[in-house]
């Protein structure tokens, strides 16, 4: 959108010079005032819907959650709020399970984000070359993203099931042992990471692909005249041009992995899912929050967890920003 459009005042009728108070002149004056008001106020009216909706469904819940976090509120009596100050935060910070959940969230986050972005980058690079039916491949690669979390998680739950699961059956077939995937500390995290990678790789591929299309082709042509191989072109041309995009996907993926909820909840389902496994081995922060609030019915600590998650995200964002600044500096 261009912002250099001439101000609408330029088209305003000239103010009547004569001090006559005829009806026409009054109307004229009134109209010009309206005109100016319209000019000043309209933009606010246009952006108001978003802010109203955000206020009702974003900001208010955020603040009210903070208010709940300072009270004792039980699922069995929502109308009884008892002020406890910082006790809820104290309680979750002294809960070993909370730190388990923090650790799990980071581990699963790293285990799912890093391979996912690397694979996405590679795929995007391949799709960026001229190849037959490229549109077909570009569409296919996005299909996992179009499935819902629940259906993907449920299907993978069948794959990773210990008894009668597809994966164990295959492993058994090639003579490898029987693994209780959901039960192991590492295997359960691997299982969840696989679901995440499967769903989001295509999405990131498309983002990278879009960015690659914007890289001028003469750079590649120049590189290939200089005798650079495809791999060298990728390293020396593509990746540097994609730096801001890569940073963007890292930020998005970080926020996404922080909120990981459906996959761990549905890997085993039922009450095991709600506690992130029987030893909380794959309990993420969202699942911890859910279990505290919805299964144990203690909404105060659950709200405190929500705010703790926000604090963690802000810390990660700050680290990201610092790294980004460092990268930009070193690139110069």
């Amino acid at each position: 959108m261009s912002t250099s459009a001439p101000a609408r005042d330029a088209y305003a009728p000239p103010p009547s010079g004569s001090p006559q108070t005829s009806a026409a002149a009054r109307r004229q004056k009134w109209r010009s005032r309206l005109w100016r008001f319209d000019d000043k106020a309209s933009p606010y009216a246009y952006i108001a819907p978003f802010f109203l909706v955000f206020g009702a469904f974003g900001l208010y819940p955020l603040l009210y959650t903070g208010w709940i976090a300072l009270h004792r509120v039980e699922m069995t009596g929502l109308d009884q709020m008892q002020w406890v100050g910082w006790a809820n935060f104290d309680r979750i910070l002294h809960d070993a399970e909370f730190w388990t959940a923090v650790g799990n969230t980071f581990l699963i986050g790293v285990m799912s984000t890093v391979p996912q972005l690397l694979v996405a980058l590679g795929l995007a690079h391949l799709l960026n070359y001229r190849l037959r039916a490229s549109t077909f491949f570009r569409t296919i690669i996005l299909t996992p993203y179009a499935t819902s979390v629940a259906s993907a998680a449920l299907v993978f739950a069948l794959v990773f099931r210990a008894d009668g699961g597809l994966l164990n059956w295959l492993l058994h077939f090639i003579g490898l042992g029987h693994t209780n995937w959901a039960n192991g500390h590492w295997t359960s995290k691997i299982a969840i990471s696989v679901i995440v990678i499967w769903r989001w790789t295509g999405y990131n591929t498309l983002i990278y692909l879009a960015a690659m299309q914007a890289v001028p082709t003469d750079l590649y042509e120049a590189a290939s005249i200089d005798g650079a191989s495809r791999w060298q072109q990728f390293r020396k041309v593509t990746v540097p041009s994609l730096r801001p995009t890569i940073l963007f996907t890292i930020v998005i993926s970080t926020i996404g992995s922080m909120q990981l909820f459906g996959e761990p909840l549905l890997l085993e389902g039922g009450t095991l899912g709600a506690t992130g496994g029987n030893e909380n081995q794959y309990e993420t922060l969202s699942v911890y929050l859910y279990n505290y609030g919805w299964n144990l019915g203690h909404l105060g600590p659950a709200a405190a967890v929500a705010w703790a998650m926000l604090a963690l995200l802000l810390i990660i964002a700050a680290i990201n920003w610092l790294i980004g600044r460092f990268v930009r500096k070193s690139a110069v």
Binding site: T76, R161, A162, E268, G270, T271, N278
Partner: protein, 441 residues
Amino acid sequence: MRITRTVGGRRRRAAVIATTGLTATALLLAGCSSDSSDSGKSSDANGKITLTVADYGQFGYKEAGLFAQYHKLHPNITVKEDVTADEKVYYPKMLQELNAGSGLADVQGVEVGRIKEVVDTKANDFADLSKVINVGDWVPWKEKQATTSGGAVIGAGTDIGPMSLCYNTELFKKAGLPTDRAAVAKKVAGGWNSYLQLGEEYKKKAPAGTYFMDSASAMFNAVVSSNAKQYYDASGKAIYKDSPSVKEGWNLAAEAASKKLTQGLAQFNDPWVAALRKGTIATVACPAWMAGQISTNAGAGNKGKWDITTAPGATAANWGGSFLAVPKKGSHVTEASALVKWLTAPAQQAAVFKAIGVFPSNKGAYDLPEVKNAKLPYFNNAPIGQIYADEAKTIPEAVIGEKDGVIKDNFSTQINNMEQRGTSPDDAWSAATNAIDKAIG
């Protein structure tokens, strides 16, 4: 822009169209939502109403054909059932719906492990049934559990869970154990210790890939629930850490886990269901309602392979049992209360017992021949009427607490950990008590 009459006319017409559209949409939406949640609408044009019953596990009404029967008796009423497999999933959902004031069915099931909490915190949300049902009809301790301090009765007892032992005769035969009811009962007459001994005997010649029991958590629950003193004392204080019955059950479970007598499955989860279907489990500690779970999950292919005998030991246990409650917010409270009264009446409890083996809590049912002489076809025609009636006579009046259900679930989870991962009993105990303290606090 010229302002003329036609514009006003057009505008009015637009308004009419918009209003009509909105009304139509609203009506459609109302049509989509369930009867229980739309306010004020008591019936459709023909005076026909639909009542929904939300429950969990196996209540057996469908199996006994009671809903169809009720529709025959009251042609204007159709009853629909909304079943959640796992009560642990069902209960938090019900609490949320109570708080939201929507999404509730006309009749909601409440498990005995939760009834105290509901009575203490949510009694105002349920209709008082004390005028509808006759509390004296039930076994004495049953309706007490659903009575508030003010004397309101918020639930009608459906079943109780006298304990028995379900065993797989096919596996017993392969392992060289007796399959006759009396002989098995004699083997475990010494109590749960002799049950474990039988387990070791089974293990010696067990068919590959089979286990003596599904999970020691079932045995733990059986042991705890055979005592009057369980997780709470009479004053409402949680005493589960020092309760002798909990200690006894825990030690037995730890022994079973260390001797690898169990498959270590979390009960009612998918793998447990799959194991029943595959037939890898030789015995299940069986409160009356468990038989229904086994027959449903093991499927028609295993019919006649299972049998039921007296539970280990001499003390009777009651594990579980439920209530039917009527939320006040429903739009058919009167009809729903009448349905609850009918469903929990002796004849209907007897019918359900006959269908899936959940044992009546209404005393009037005990004298009915179909209860006295009841046999479960699926379980090799086991004389369950006799087995459960003997047990039910000696069930102690247990003290129940607000978080009984939660405490039981957490102990079960940690018992599963001892079984599956070989967690040491001490570590599992501290993990369980930590989780329970968090849940109670």
